[in-house]
């Protein structure tokens, strides 16, 4: 496998959790879904549960007329109704001393991840990244089965008859976007934006991983003398001392395709 990131943004399936009688372990070992056959449907990832339901015409499009009124609100349906399974597969065969991370850039609001029968929990919070080192649970033949059970915010709230900015404000008890109970400019979002709402990717590294570099510049002599300060976290995931060469390179493309290194 080559070093770098691969997005998992196609071939996803989704199903309402109450309509799937299997466990995450079964879904990712003996009984994977084979395609968009009931209760499974093509999923929008990244996106929300409602985006998937609209794409499959399982609900009317909430942006037309009063059709949002026809969609069951989570306050009336309960959180299970918008608790959804998302399923996909990916191919990856590592060579020796390589590691694979499974990255979720944002999930609303919490989730359980099953990969080839193994379970990992993604903690609550809409605005946080999750990165799982899954090296040890990859399938030997390279074909991996991934299922994610996504749970809505803990406090989805109830929309008062008079509506109002933020509904009954219950959503404010969670660390999540607050407009979803409705505001003066938008009707309530029925699933409170539950879902895998940002990028999912796998990234291959060698024994040492670069984490969250930070770039800062400082200026002197009226912006003619400038310094770039770069720092980064590094993690050695091997069992031996890693002798590293760390390089930083700054380039800019000048006009006409000339590149200054």
């Amino acid at each position: 496998a080559s070093i770098g990131k691969t997005k998992l943004d196609s071939g996803w399936l989704a199903a309402r959790s109450t309509e799937v009688g299997l466990s995450g372990t079964q879904l990712t070992t003996s009984h994977p879904p084979t395609g968009p056959a009931k209760p499974w449907m093509e999923a929008v990832v990244p996106g929300t549960v409602l985006a998937t339901l609209v794409k499959n015409k399982a609900v009317p499009d909430p942006f037309y007329g009063l059709e949002n009124e026809m969609i069951l609100d989570i306050a009336d349906s309960g959180r299970e109704y918008y608790t959804f399974w998302f399923f996909t597969t990916f191919q990856c065969k590592l060579s020796e001393n390589q590691h694979l991370d499974l990255n979720f850039r944002a999930i609303n609001y919490s989730a359980e991840v099953y990969l080839n029968g193994q379970k990992r929990v993604l903690q609550k919070g809409m605005f946080r990244r999750h990165s799982l080192d899954v090296t040890d649970i990859l399938h030997p033949d390279g074909q991996n089965l991934l299922a994610v059970l996504v749970h809505p915010p803990d406090h989805p709230g109830t929309i008062p008859p008079e509506g109002g900015q933020g509904g009954d404000h219950e959503i404010g008890k969670d660390v999540a976007t607050q407009y979803v109970e409705g505001w003066d400019w938008i009707a309530p979002i029925r699933d409170r934006n539950t879902g895998i709402w940002d990028e999912v990717s796998i990234s291959v590294t060698g024994p040492v991983k670069i984490i969250d570099p930070h770039l800062v510049s400082s200026f002197f002599d009226n912006y003619t003398r400038v310094y770039l300060h770069a720092s980064t976290e590094l993690e050695n995931r091997s069992t031996w001392v890693a002798e590293c060469s760390l390089s930083i390179q700054v380039t800019t493309d000048l006009e006409g395709g000339v590149c200054l290194v």
């Binding site: 990244r129 040492v208 969250d212 570099p213 310094y227 590094l234 800019t252």
Partner: protein, 237 residues
């Protein structure tokens, strides 16, 4: 002069923080907001090679050399901004999010943000009841020169106001709020368009959260000694 390699040993299983010696640039092309100059961007690549293995990981990001300052003006009570030492008149627009079902696409971000630049705006304010916007949003703000005012997830309507007052102490889990805030800062902090973090919309976050945000987001002492023209005292260099 813009390529530097350092050697270091990392123990098995260790998680270390490493800082490169600073890289010097003579009169680099500066990044300017829309209407003030070019949005010059450099590609910064960081790679790590491990002896006996080869390239182990690679990271790259567009970077703009710019200095953004702002302070509350006593005379007007308004916040005055400077970019690269030059005062800037802020022409801003409010932003909530590009799609209520979070079908967020690069194409949509590019179109929406270029539209703001074409309307001669130079700032976009991301409202606290919406999202911490995504790297693709900031990427196009970098490209088109829109400064970004990014609010955290507190609003006057939902937190600490109203009759009866709702959520007087904000979200139930303050540690979770700070974990999300710190991770969001790490996700977005290298974008030149990021100009201002704001605690919330029309509301100050609960005291402990506000204090923690101010503490985490204050300028590192190393960069603090800047004087009016944006220079640091000589001894720093």
């Amino acid at each position: 002069e813009h390529l530097q390699t350092q050697h270091l040993s990392i123990s098995p299983g260790a998680h270390v923080q490493y800082t490169f010696p600073q890289l010097f640039f003579y009169k680099p092309n500066l990044w300017w907001p829309n209407g003030m100059g070019k949005q010059s961007l450099y590609t910064v690549r960081i790679s790590v090679d491990v002896k006996g293995y080869g390239e182990s990981d690679l990271w790259s990001h567009l970077f703009g050399f710019r200095k953004i300052e702002s302070h509350i003006d006593n005379a007007t009570g308004g916040r005055l901004f400077k970019v690269n030492g030059q005062p800037i008149f802020i022409r801003g627009g409010n932003w909530i999010l590009s799609d209520g079902l979070l079908r967020l696409s690069k194409k949509r971000y590019k179109t929406d943000i270029k539209f703001h630049a074409d309307m001669n705006m130079n700032m976009i304010r991301c409202w606290g009841g919406g999202l911490a916007e995504r790297p693709e949003f900031y990427h196009y703000c970098d490209i088109y020169g829109l400064l970004v005012w990014q609010e955290f997830w507190i609003t006057g309507d939902v937190d600490g106001r109203g009759v009866p007052v709702s959520n007087p102490d904000g979200p139930l889990d303050h540690d979770l709020f700070m974990l999300c805030a710190r991770d969001t800062v790490k996700l977005l902090r290298n974008h030149p368009s990021l100009a201002l973090w704001v605690g919330g919309n029309e509301q100050v976050p609960p005291e402990d959260i506000n204090k923690a945000l101010k503490n985490d987001l204050k300028l590192h002492p190393y960069f603090k000694n800047s004087n009016e023209t944006g220079n640091f005292t000589e001894d720093l260099s």
